[in-house]
Symmetry: C2
């Protein structure tokens, strides 16, 4: 054993000599940036914003009076924090709101299941509809089924999403929610219920938007919680006809929404601003704590910390987007108004309140040194350097696609889809330590991108 161990040590020691190239030298992180980052690990601004918005407004679905109250709350809070040019940019959306909801198995084993309508579901009306349930294991199975197997029935798709750190399953496994209702309608289904696009086993369905294809007749579309979806699977496995009474009441119409914008003016107002933000609206079932009160709180707390440190060279623009959930309406309105103006960088926090574990950038080839400095500034927070030609975000996504420079601070999403769009998205799910790590990362990012922070003249005099 001993001689084997020694051999292993010798091999390990020899490894660097075998590497083909020396590693690129790491940039030295300026002391100001490191100090701002480390001080942010004691941040309270982000918690204060998250706690305040989720308590004093609560759920704030797109285009509702609650979202309007959230805008009022936002304007007051951003002004109180000392931001400049605080304003609302209004726009109109077609909103959608839920009413009474129920799913009841009538036969062979009478019992109620927990269901929530998906966004843009047709309404069953208060008396509901009754139909035979036909089950499919995947969206592909539904697509492959003959119309005759589906016509007049309530379709059930049980496709299960796995748990991942980067949330990458949401695209593929979200298919039953995004395409399922359209496919079912095209085949003549009476309605559709899906297994929630989620990873938890609580009786809390996951809401989420879906949009019927052009010319496709809207049908009632709902999501069962995972325990209920698996119950329905077990019932279907008994191979007796299954009848369900489904009530999904909803209404829809034109409604006001808006983006709330605030600024920390830079020393050189002619330079393109750095845009940071998240979205103000939330799904209606929870209080939108991790989606996305914490996101706007993280971005705003970081900007506030820069404000309190002095004046950045570049303007930092904070945007609390409206009506993200129902179709990125806030991001699209911002793009329509401001998309042609240059931005120095854009970053959005909208993947919960878990620790940041990776940083991707897409700042352009000529800004590699800046990207590497950002990587070095973030590494002490346990953040892995990622790609340098990639960034994303929900509201800012279309603008990044269109060429705007971006930074993606990726949060750990291992538990995100336990809570996403459910009643369980509430304040108690947020870990203060994780939230502070986010603020520290965002503060470091802003410090790197800001062009340097100088003490305010007034403050200088006081010292």
């Amino acid at each position: 054993m001993k001689s084997r161990l020694i051999a292993a040590f010798l091999i390990a020691a020899a490894a660097p000599a075998l590497a083909q190239q020396p590693p690129a030298p790491m940039p030295v992180v300026p002391a100001q940036i490191a100090a701002l980052r480390d001080a942010a690990l004691q941040d309270n601004f982000a918690w204060d914003i998250t706690e305040g918005l989720t308590t004093e407004v609560g759920p704030r679905l797109d285009g509702t009076p609650a979202e309007a109250r959230a805008r009022e709350w936002a304007v007051a809070k951003l002004r109180a924090l000392g931001f400049s040019n605080v304003r609302v940019e209004n726009f109109t959306i077609t909103n959608w709101t839920r009413g009474a909801e129920d799913a009841e198995i009538l036969a062979p084993f009478p019992q109620r299941l927990v269901v929530a309508a998906l966004g843009n579901s047709a309404s069953t009306g208060p008396s509901g509809i009754t139909g035979e349930v036909v089950g499919f294991d995947t969206l592909g199975d539904l697509q492959a089924a003959p119309d005759s197997a589906v016509r007049g029935k309530i379709v059930f798709v049980s496709h299960a999403m796995p748990r991942t750190q980067d949330g990458s399953g949401y695209g593929y496994f979200g298919g039953p929610r995004r395409q399922g209702p359209t496919v079912a309608s095209q085949k003549g289904a009476l309605a559709i219920v899906i297994r929630s696009i989620g990873t938890d086993y609580h009786r809390n369905p996951h809401a989420g938007v879906q949009t019927f294809g052009t010319g496709v007749k809207p049908i009632p579309a709902g999501a069962l919680s995972l325990p209920d979806a698996e119950q329905l699977q077990r019932i279907l496995k008994r191979r007796k006809p299954v009848t369900m009474h489904l009530t999904l009441v909803s209404q829809s119409g034109p409604a006001p929404s808006g983006n709330v914008i605030a600024e920390l003016p830079g020393r050189d107002p002619k330079l393109p601003p750095i845009l940071v933000g998240g979205h103000l609206d939330s799904w209606d079932l929870g209080t939108g704590a991790i989606d996305d009160a914490s996101g706007i709180a993280i971005a705003t707390a970081a900007a506030k910390r820069i404000m309190d440190a002095g004046r950045p060279l570049r303007t930092i623009r904070v945007v609390w987007f409206g009506s993200e959930e129902m179709g990125l309406f806030g991001g699209l309105d911002y793009q329509k108004r401001h998309g042609s103006e240059p931005h120095y960088a854009m970053a959005e926090s909208d993947f919960g309140a878990g620790k940041i574990w990776k940083v991707n950038t897409k700042l352009g080839k000529d800004r590699d040194a800046e990207a590497r400095l950002l990587q070095a500034a973030l590494a002490p927070l346990g953040i892995v350097p990622g790609k340098m030609d990639d960034a994303d975000g929900s509201d800012i996504g279309p603008m990044i696609e269109a060429g705007a420079p971006g930074v993606g601070l990726s949060q750990d999403g291992t538990y995100y889809f336990d809570l996403h769009h459910t009643p369980d998205d509430t304040l108690d799910k947020i870990d203060l330590g994780d939230l502070r790590q986010n603020v520290a990362a965002w503060t470091a990012m802003l410090a790197v991108l800001s062009g340097g922070i100088e003490p305010e003249p007034k403050r200088k005099l006081r010292r």
Copy 2:
């Protein structure tokens, strides 16, 4: 380091010599008992019963048609398993069933909270009631409050129960549910909502029974989920008047219930039977998987395993009690009918499906050897020998109190109150390995108490 280590070993080795008495010799576990116990670690009967009852009946609240379907299911299942004398002992209860429920904060921060009525709550009627909320941290604070602080208001009590392995917090910290409504009514409250008696942070309230004191006017009484209770606390902390609209619809009336009883006849039918069981009814919000499908499944699977091994000396009587949740009605009916008949022992499984971690017995002084054999038979399953003058159970509790011999196989309750009486009490929460450990323990217990199992004459001939 080395010499210190050696010294530590020497001290450890010397420890037994320092003990004041030699330990009592451990009983040798007969091979038949050990073999039955170990084979039960591969049991499928308990899973089959739990899966079947929760799927094919689902929720089965006391005195409802669902509980009646559960009795039919039970009779068919117990007969199919080969039990004898399968029968229902009918009785009548006053049942209580819930209708529409909602709690909405109207001011200062409009939003809906998740609420469920407690058993025997008065009905608000479908249009609900509106009142100012007055909050108390504990039941004691409510008791100490002057009537004038409570009269005409909606009382909120936020008393929080800690997580424990033995579930011992449920007595003390369950006070707000059991006594809160009566105290609030006596002080003239319009209604009461409590923080759920639970330990999880999901938007799933914990139901549970409460009974208004004699002469006390029933008022609407509900439980908020923990996230909602903490939200209400945060709102109250803002020190603005809080107005709530509360809807808790319910109805009550006489309804049929019953105990389902089955037997594995012993070789000597004149000997007192061993009673094992759990309760068939469940709260309405979940499918009663851990409360108490798994309990009846564990007790019944163990009896079935004895049946398949041969014929015990003593009769094993399996009882699936009805209407436990609303007031131990099944246990009291059994006591009325059979309480004066001698029983060799009673044991009930009604604390979830977590691993058994301790065994208590109350078999009487003259049966110490039997109790010690039971301890020795269970120890290999990781079960700690507990008290020898203590046993409990819900339905059997009054009979144990009255002197019937009992065995208490204590399940690990660390996570029990995450699920107890909530919508989350569903099949997916049960761990098959834990369930099988329970069956192994119950099988070992029955093997010890049975007086010996002999092969059936028929089977003997076949061999």
